[in-house]
């Protein structure tokens, strides 16, 4: 495939992140490894606490200091080693070359500043233009994300907009400098399905126009299926399976991916059928084993060694990788 010869826009290699808490050091990410190619949408999917957002925050170097730190690994973005960049240089990348869309638009916007002022700030910082030009560009951006009568909206405050409109403003801010990569952290989770459909459609159209890549974080497998070219399934700080969306949904190899897909009710499914469940809860980061982390919940017998020693990632078919625990994966 051509993609594999081309260099990825973003490559995350063996990224491990730890947090120091009152109860001790916890590993939030354990050797996370994936690529995002130019113009593609890659999804990170998993349950709460699996490390999806920590991955995004590590790439953006927004981990809370001093409790969170990267202990190993590399993040390469367009030839730049992001983890070793000076804070000043990193600020130039953030918002300019990598845009970020946050989950809760009300928290991502400043409640006491006008929409126009918040948008202009992006241009003032990254582009060498006058305030007036920045204001005009803000209006243009609002128009591009489908906000009606943008010349009036720039004078409004976030509380005057609906949830969907606020998320459009956040998207406008993330896209203002035409970044090559957009990191969207649960961009539609706080929204209604109808507004979610609008926002996903908008993101797809903007991506088509600008050719940028998207790293989409979500817990909704339906959103992944409809928007992503590739998907990484995360569990307890690790990627347990990754590959093209079609392959992962058609032939999931890891037991966790299979169980996750089976446990969601489907519109076309048999009504009132007892759903597949995964026993127990997502493990606490404080007591993680080193081997197969899904083992204790899998309902299948694991040996002591399988629970204490991590199995390597194995390529089961072209571009489809899985953490090859011999119990959870039938090869």
């Amino acid at each position: 495939m051509k993609d594999q010869i081309a260099k990825p826009l973003l490559s995350v290699r063996d990224l491990s992140v730890s947090f120091s808490t009152d109860e001790g050091e916890v590993t939030a990410l354990d050797r996370v490894d994936f690529d995002v190619f130019s113009g593609k949408t890659v999804g990170l999917v998993g349950e709460s606490g699996c490390g999806k957002s920590v991955t995004a925050y590590s790439i953006m170097r927004l981990l809370p200091k001093p409790i969170g730190k990267v202990i190993s690994g590399k993040v390469n973005f367009d030839g730049i080693d992001l983890l070793n960049l000076s804070p000043e240089k990193m600020r130039e990348v953030r918002g300019n070359q990598i845009g970020m869309i946050f989950q809760e638009p009300m928290n991502a916007l400043n409640p006491v500043q006008k929409i126009g002022a918040q948008l202009s700030e992006v241009f003032n910082i990254h582009k060498n233009i006058t305030d007036h030009q920045a204001w005009l560009s803000s209006i243009e951006m609002l128009d591009a994300v489908g906000i009606p009568s943008p010349e009036n909206r720039v004078h409004e405050y976030p509380h005057q907009l609906s949830g969907g409109m606020r998320q459009r403003v956040v998207i406008a801010m993330a896209l203002a400098c035409q970044p090559k990569l957009i990191i969207a952290d649960e961009p539609t989770t706080a929204l209604d399905v109808t507004v979610q459909a609008q926002i996903l459609d908008l993101l797809k159209n903007l991506q088509k126009k600008s050719g940028s890549s998207i790293l989409l974080i979500t817990h909704d497998l339906g959103v992944i299926a409809e928007t992503c070219d590739e998907v990484c399934v995360m569990y307890a700080g690790r990627i347990v399976e990754k590959g093209s969306t079609r392959k992962i949904f058609a032939q999931p190899k890891h037991l966790y991916t299979q169980d996750l897909l089976d446990s969601i009710p489907r519109l076309d499914g048999t009504p009132k059928k007892i759903l597949k469940t995964i026993e127990g809860i997502v493990p606490s980061l404080l007591d993680l084993n080193n081997g197969c982390r899904f083992g204790p919940r899998s309902g299948r017998e694991h040996t002591e060694a399988q629970l204490s020693e991590r199995s390597p990632m194995r390529e089961v078919s072209e571009g489809h990788w899985v953490e090859a625990c011999p119990v959870c994966v039938e090869l």
Binding site: D192, R246, S263, P265, I278
Partner: protein
Amino acid sequence: MNAEEDFFQVKNLQVHFPVRGGVFKKAIGACKAVDGVSFSISKGQTVGLVGESGCGKSTLAKSIVQLVKPTAGELFFKGRLLVPGEGLTEYRKSVQMVFQDPAESLNSRMTVGAMVQEPMDIHRIGDKGGRLKRVERLLEQVGLPASSARRYPFEFSGGQRQRIGIARALALNPEFLVLDEPVSALDVSVQSQVLNLLMSLQQDLGLSYLLIAHDLAVVKHISDIIAVMYLGKMVEMGPSSEIYLNPRHAYTQALLSAIPIPDPSLKREKLIIPGDIPSPINPPEGCAYGHRVSATNYQESIQVESVWKKVGVDHWVLECPCCVSPL
């Protein structure tokens, strides 16, 4: 109508909140959160209620359990009209509610046992020893160890907390549960555990459910009847497979189309609804949905009074010249 269908009935229910303004905070308008809703639930049946946020789902639920006083309309439970102040205690015993966010609906300073026992204390059911026994049995019934009674909510995960909320709702042996988004705060793998629990409790205890959820896949999975609400009004109601296969109202069609389906090989044309749900304080004239999507026949809807029309077996739709195409 036979006795089965008479189990629970809502007739033309309205909940209007006053909008106050001016110097003396006089009511200058009304927010019509629920505007003339009628439906009925049979014994052992699940009715799923869907709609966008702000359409009045939760207000309807709260008015059913009498946490909000309806402005107008009638509630019938087992054929008896509910009169405020009369027999309300009995009614509350039989109709209980499970709330959306288990973290917020549990008292963090009470033990789980005390919380599950509280309804029995209030209604003076059994003696002390009997209540304690019942608490343990209830906890086991929802899949928690009996020893949980001595612990506090923070010691439990989200899914377990929701089980506690369900155990508390079951304490008085209710016949009807109103479930307000019971699984939306939960992870996918835990969501299926709670849904299975709800389905098995219904079978064992013969409960009726009014399930409110924004996830149509969840609603369709466990409901017999699906009701769709838009801006305080019920726009369509019918057997869940019928609503799914043959939706008649344009809003139901668009809502179904907006749901992302976890199957990447499926290619479908999406109906994207523009804009947001309008404010119930100042709703547009005529058909509110037709106004939002600028439907071609919208003008006609201003002149006609929309009526509830039967279009199939148990399948009803709010007739409207712009949103429902004639058969």
